[in-house]
């Protein structure tokens, strides 16, 4: 078994603005973005779609990335995900 050390000091965060997109648009935008960043980096998804705010954490758990946080910011949500693999 190999282990991978993730340094949060060098991790970067990219924001994906998916406000206005309906399910599963925000999830798809997250996945497209997560493929392009390094392990340990974070993606923040901004979504005005409540379903996606609930569903993205489910996807993150299913495929074993890490949910950093979900925050409601007035008319939209911020969902931060750390790429783990």
């Amino acid at each position: 078994m190999t282990t991978q050390t993730i340094s949060h000091d060098t991790a970067k965060r990219k924001t994906v603005d998916a406000r206005g997109a309906y399910c599963p648009g925000p999830l798809m935008e997250l996945i497209a973005a997560i493929k392009l960043v390094d392990i340990g980096d974070e993606i923040e998804v901004l979504s005005s779609d409540k379903g996606s705010a609930n569903d993205i954490p489910e996807w993150v758990a299913k495929v074993k990335h890490e949910l950093v946080g979900v925050e409601e910011l007035g008319d939209h949500w911020s969902i931060v995900v750390r790429k783990m693999k």
């Binding site: 309906y22 798809m28 996807w59 495929v63």
Partner: protein
């Protein structure tokens, strides 16, 4: 680890059902499930290059278009790009319409397949009819 393979037979030409099939296929494919879709009957018309975006549907179809929900065909294309998704035009549907593969939308279809092959593959997973 991959989940149980999912097989979708898409034969409805209704926008709402094609949208739902696109949502299921794309989300499953990006959630570590291999997905195969078999497109036949009235559903094939939505995937013709010349009629892309021209859907036939009911009340919810109007809402999907008005609210600019993700396009149904593009959902399949995203699932193909980001996950393990194969989409086969039914060889019978291609024969009946007389269409060549180049008449279908780009960046989506695998070569036409017969029902026998699809059903044989589907023995190893879960089959959904839409």
């Amino acid at each position: 680890m991959s989940g149980m393979p999912l097989f979708i037979v898409l034969c409805s030409g209704e926008h709402e059902k094609i949208q739902m099939a696109g949502m299921i296929a794309s989300v499953a494919a990006v959630s570590d499930r291999p997905v195969q879709v078999f497109v036949s009957m009235n559903a094939i018309f939505a995937f013709r290059r010349d009629s892309k975006g021209d859907y036939r549907g009911g009340e919810f179809s109007k809402l999907l278009l008005e609210k600019k929900a993700p396009d149904a065909v593009e959902l399949f294309q995203q699932g193909k790009m980001l996950g393990d998704l194969k989409v086969y035009p039914c060889s019978m549907a291609m024969d009946i319409t007389g269409w060549a593969e180049k008449e279908l939308v780009d960046d989506l279809f695998d070569p036409p397949a017969g029902l026998t092959k699809f059903l044989s593959d589907a023995e190893g997973g879960q089959l959904v009819m839409i």
